[in-house]
């Protein structure tokens, strides 16, 4: 119980913030100075994982430690879906949050990690309400949209956010005797479905991720009801990472102030070039990973 309060509590303290992917201590310092509320320590950003192919695994603990030493903000790191030993290693390293992530090559095609046993909280990706609540049932203290990482195309993150939020709107409007059948349909635990209906939102903090590349993208996700955003390849694959990082931070705070968004969107140089998510072959889609 205490671990739940603490993992959920840290996620609540990240709200309204931007979590940035970094591959070096130097990038982590740039992210912190730009106002990131946390960093995700990685060997390769998703755009490079996508370009280089092969099996993507947990990063070298040495690199993660160097990044932890470089900044005072929370440091997250990714493990493969189902790879509970990578997760234990990350816990031993002392990261502040573990992302059981579809961006890495899944280690288990059936099971996710039983996350309740860990002292360090987890964030997991989802495409719809059922998937989100299955991850919460396993112990995830925070949920993010999967989007389509490494593309710079926000459309899949929008799709996943709308899937979840739309499903919650339907759930809150349906008759009480329809709830159990709905829980069965979306393959989610009934107790969490009821809790979601009572709250009118996911029972944990819900961030956007996967393809966010501009301040406007970040603000769009906030309007769709997200609590904050992850930006992966979008910052350090752009022409001016420092300026873009700062602009995205300000865009998340001021997402409803369009004059402010116009101001922060000005003169940022080239965004990451990106790939349209709809042009990806099915095998190249990361969001399909996770069960």
């Amino acid at each position: 119980m205490a671990a739940d309060v603490l993992g959920d509590g840290l996620a609540r303290m990240l709200k309204g913030g931007v979590i940035m992917d970094v591959v070096s201590p130097e990038q982590a310092v740039v992210a912190e100075r730009a106002g990131a509320c946390a960093v995700m320590a990685l060997e390769r950003v998703p755009a490079d994982i996508r370009a280089q192919g092969g099996v993507a695994r947990m990063s070298d603990p040495g690199l993660i430690r160097e990044i932890m030493a470089a900044v005072t903000i929370p440091v997250m790191a990714k493990c493969r879906i189902g790879h509970f030993v990578e997760a234990r290693i990350l816990e031993a390293v002392g990261v502040d949050y573990i992302d059981e992530s579809e961006v890495l090559t899944p280690a288990d095609e059936v099971h996710h990690i039983h996350k309740r046993d860990f002292r360090v909280p987890f964030v997991c990706g989802c495409r719809d309400l059922g998937e989100a609540l299955r991850r919460v049932a396993e112990g995830a203290a925070m949920i993010r949209t999967k989007g389509e990482a490494g593309t710079g195309d926000v459309s899949e993150a929008v799709r996943h956010a709308r899937q979840v939020q739309g499903a919650i709107r339907r759930l809150t409007a349906m008759a009480e005797d329809e709830v159990a059948a709905y829980a069965k349909e979306i393959r989610a635990p009934l107790s969490l479905v009821w809790k979601t209906r009572e709250l009118g939102r996911l029972p944990v903090v819900h961030f956007a991720a996967g393809g966010i590349a501009t301040p406007a993208d970040a603000a769009l996700m906030m309007h769709l009801g997200m609590d904050g955003v992850f930006v992966g390849s979008g910052i350090f694959k752009s022409a001016d990472p420092e300026a873009r990082a700062r602009a995205i931070v300000l865009a998340v705070t001021h997402y409803a102030d369009f004059a402010k968004l116009a101001e922060v969107s000005t003169g940022l140089g080239e965004a990451m070039s990106g790939i349209a998510a709809r042009d990806l072959a099915d095998v190249a889609r990361l969001a399909g990973r996770g069960w």
Partner: protein, 184 residues
Amino acid sequence: MVVGVLALQGGFAEHESVLARLGVASRQVRTPQDLSGLAGLILPGGESTTIGIVAEANGLLAPLRDFAMAHPVWGVCAGVVFLARAVGRLQPTLGVLDLEVARNAYGRQRESFTAQVEVAGLGAFPGVFIRAPRLVAWGSAVEPMAWHEDEVVGVRQGHILATAFHPELTADIRLHAQFVAWCH
């Protein structure tokens, strides 16, 4: 009466929920104009570097300092860091509270903890400490008001309150009620 909650980043919605439970109107503060007419202000938990950087970018540092001179202000966790005079590193802060803090001094997230704390005038209180700052040293105008075992985890300087723990993450609304009473 309207109580403001600094809404640049972090756990501001949780404070608004508690204020609503107390029947007190709240307003999210993002710009200097948002401060006008407020009876008091809560500086919520979050990341103090983010909050400081965004406050600086919005031209909020000086207006917040002026506000804190004349009105009740309560900093929680990152809000304590944001109020403090010395934080051990360069980051934008208000510096209106004569307090030195050590950020993340309890350790990383796996060292975050819950424990009972003792609050002056209220007695036992649930303490939730998340990557909390340690209160290291303070000036003569600063009065300790909360303890975890022998360690000071909350202080008061006039109408400025600072707690390293998060009452808004518990069901205990007594500290919020006390702060609201100051605002009247």
